[in-house]
């Protein structure tokens, strides 16, 4: 037979390896093949998934939680402390042989285990022996790494949609295109009803709406995979559902971080309950997802619903108090709000304040409402462009997926798609939000001071003809981008050198 195993111990320098040797020898003596992954301090070479898949049974001899245990899910498993393997390797191998035979003879048991096994074995970047701070960062990174392709795909589709719309519909194209939807009451604006392969407008609308659909997954995917990193498969349901609720409630990516971490911790807690044998089978498919989702979804809506609403109302009232004549100070405040949560509630209040202003009828082309719109738009472009700039200047400070995302962020930022910066902010909230707020506020203030205007509520460079004092608009934007990128690089390099010094 073929076996695989994992060994680990608290110190990771002795028992881990002795147990591995004992198991391998015992298996060999009994005429079997065995590969052991030593999760000790000399680093562990993960067993190739193909070898695991081919194994008849698994032996865990461990004093620490098995890392990435989901890789072994669905196999008959012998699970003991590390010392058992050292003192009695042959007995464990015999147990594994029996477990494998029992599994073959009892297909129902095998099916139950397979149902609890993950599909395809999704990767996480979590090292369960690391400190809590490191672990939290690894949780966040796991969520971010799964979110990044959605940001890139959705953001680029939306930007291409704007671009095409400008060609098809003229200078208001990027605004008019948003009237179209996949399904709309007016059949003329319904892509499903009226798609025509020869209409550029329809193609633009299609690109835009598909991109928007991809963006709908940002917060759920972020939240879902943070929870997955914490709790393995049981975390997925509460994570995704919590994230979707955070999206519905306008809580943004910060809400997604909360639901992800909460969902993961609750799911992990429930999946560790000691339950009666009869219930154990339905834990992973029914009980854990049901309870954890109810708890996370319920808590989030009930506990955070009103505070988020109250926060948004308070901010709106504050802005109305400043009034449209608020000038430089108003620009600073709106800019800071735009840079704070990148599509979350604070950002939304600032954006709504600006877009409501420009719908006032009969405004002069240099009305303060248009300056406010320009300040808000420019400020919303700062964070993604600054991340693009920072990853270009100092790629070593960022992970590989972040660097990839940085390249897409140029286009996203230029298109006023603030979401391009979310992966960076979700992975490292404190530093990124701090630097984003400062740069965005400066840009917002400068736009007001320079008197640049925008008659378009969105679109970035794709609505260039609708922006007044364009060069000053770009100057204000460039200064904010440079400030934010500079602060990010400074904060990240400082912590990198601290980490190096500690190592």
């Amino acid at each position: 037979m073929k076996f695989v195993g994992v060994t680990s111990c608290p110190t990771g320098i002795a028992h881990t390896y002795m147990a591995a040797e004992a198991l391998e020898q015992a298996a060999k003596d009994a005429g079997h093949e065995m590969v052991v992954e030593t999760q000790g301090s000399a680093g562990s070479d993960p067993i190739p998934q193909s070898v695991i898949d081919a194994a008849d049974a698994v032996i865990f001899a461990h004093d620490l939680p098995v890392k990435d245990a989901h890789r072994f899910a669905g196999k008959p498993t012998v699970d003991v402390g590390v010392k058992r393997a050292i003192s009695d390797g042959p007995a464990l191998v015999a147990q594994a042989v029996a477990a494998a035979a029992d599994f073959k003879a009892n297909p129902a048991k095998a099916a139950a285990a397979a149902a609890a096994a993950p599909v395809g074995g999704l990767a996480t970047k979590v090292d369960s022996s690391a400190s809590l701070g490191t672990q939290i960062r690894q949780w966040l990174m796991t969520g971010v790494s799964y979110m990044i392709p959605f940001v890139a795909a959705g953001g680029i589709l939306i930007a291409l949609g704007f671009m095409l719309a400008q060609v098809a519909l003229g200078e208001n194209g990027a605004i008019d295109i948003t009237k179209y939807d996949i399904v709309a009451k007016d059949a003329a604006f319904s892509i499903m009803d009226s798609f025509n392969p020869f209409s550029l407008t329809m193609w633009a609308a299609l690109l835009f709406r598909v991109g928007v659909a991809a963006f709908g997954f940002l917060v759920p995917v972020l939240s879902g995979f943070i929870a997955y990193a914490i709790a393995d498969r049981p975390g997925l349901v509460p994570g995704f559902v919590g994230g979707a609720l955070a999206g519905t409630m306008g809580a943004g990516f910060l809400g997604g971080l909360v639901t992800g971490i909460l969902g993961g911790l609750v799911a992990r807690w429930i999946s560790r309950w000691k339950v009666a044998k009869g219930v154990r089978g339905v834990m992973p498919v029914v009980v854990t997802p049901l309870l954890s989702t109810l708890i996370v979804g319920g808590l989030f809506v009930i506990v955070l619903g009103r505070p988020i609403k109250a926060l948004m109302e308070a901010l709106t009232n504050g802005l109305n108090g400043l009034g449209v004549g608020g000038g430089l100070a108003l620009g600073l405040v709106l800019g800071a709000m735009m840079g704070f949560d990148l599509g979350g509630p604070v950002n939304k209040v600032a954006y709504t304040f600006a877009t409501t202003g420009i719908t006032t009828a009969g405004l002069a082309t240099n009305a303060p409402q248009f300056k406010i719109m320009a300040a808000v738009m420019a400020a919303g472009m700062v964070a993604p462009l600054a991340m693009a700039l920072a990853t270009t200047l100092r790629p070593k400070l960022f992970t590989e997926p972040e660097q990839e995302n940085g390249r897409a962020a140029w286009l996203l930022g230029a298109s006023f798609i603030s979401e391009g910066a979310i992966p960076f902010a979700a992975a490292d909230p404190v530093r990124i939000i701090a630097s984003s707020v400062v740069g965005s506020a400066i840009t917002g203030g400068l736009v007001m001071a320079f008197g640049a205007t925008s008659r378009a509520p969105h679109g970035g460079i794709w609505v260039l003809p609708l922006i007044g004092n364009f060069l000053l608009f770009v100057l204000a934007l460039a200064i904010g981008v440079a400030v934010t990128a500079g602060i990010v690089v400074a904060l990240k390099s400082r912590d990198h050198s601290l980490a190096d010094a500690a190592a």
Binding site: P10, I13, H15, Y17, E21, Q25, A42
Partner: protein, 149 residues
């Protein structure tokens, strides 16, 4: 620096208990700077022993720790004819391996300790150490089987 030298071999280890034995073994690491803080290292080893005694079936004791008091991955070998109780169920330990690793050291350095740990499970290796007549012979066996293998 290699894992072990002749000064790190005690062929006739005598001590009333395993903590005293550990101290005697660990002291050999101080002179050439392998251990920079003896008390810290001993307390780290003791913490590990309190978690679970490191005695193993077959008369083996493997006190060990990763400690900030250690600068170089090191092995001290002790042999006791009458045996010292190391918490194993089947009797006292006659072969004692004190394994000292620096805290947060590079993986490459720790790989050699991993190799040593695997060797400890080999009967031939343990027998050779039981039979060794001199310190030089012990060092030679370990160098051959672990360091250069």
């Amino acid at each position: 620096m290699s894992l072990i030298s002749q000064t790190q071999v005690i062929l006739d280890l005598a001590a009333p208990d395993r903590h005293e034995a550990t101290r005697t073994l660990a002291t050999t690491l101080v002179a050439d700077g392998r251990c920079t803080d003896l008390d810290l290292f001993l307390s780290d080893v003791r913490k590990r022993e309190e978690q679970m005694a490191t005695g193993l079936p077959g008369g083996i004791g493997i006190p060990h720790a990763r400690s900030a008091g250690i600068s170089t991955p090191s092995l001290v070998f002790g042999r006791s004819r009458e045996g010292i109780d190391w918490g194993a169920e089947d009797g006292p330990a006659t072969l004692i391996f004190l394994i000292a690793a620096p805290d947060g050291g590079g993986e490459a350095h720790l790989a050699i300790l991993a190799k040593l740990a695997r060797k400890l499970m080999r009967k031939e290796f343990r027998q050779a150490l039981t039979d060794a007549a001199t310190e030089a012979e012990v060092v030679e066996i370990i160098e051959r089987e672990v360091v250069n293998a």
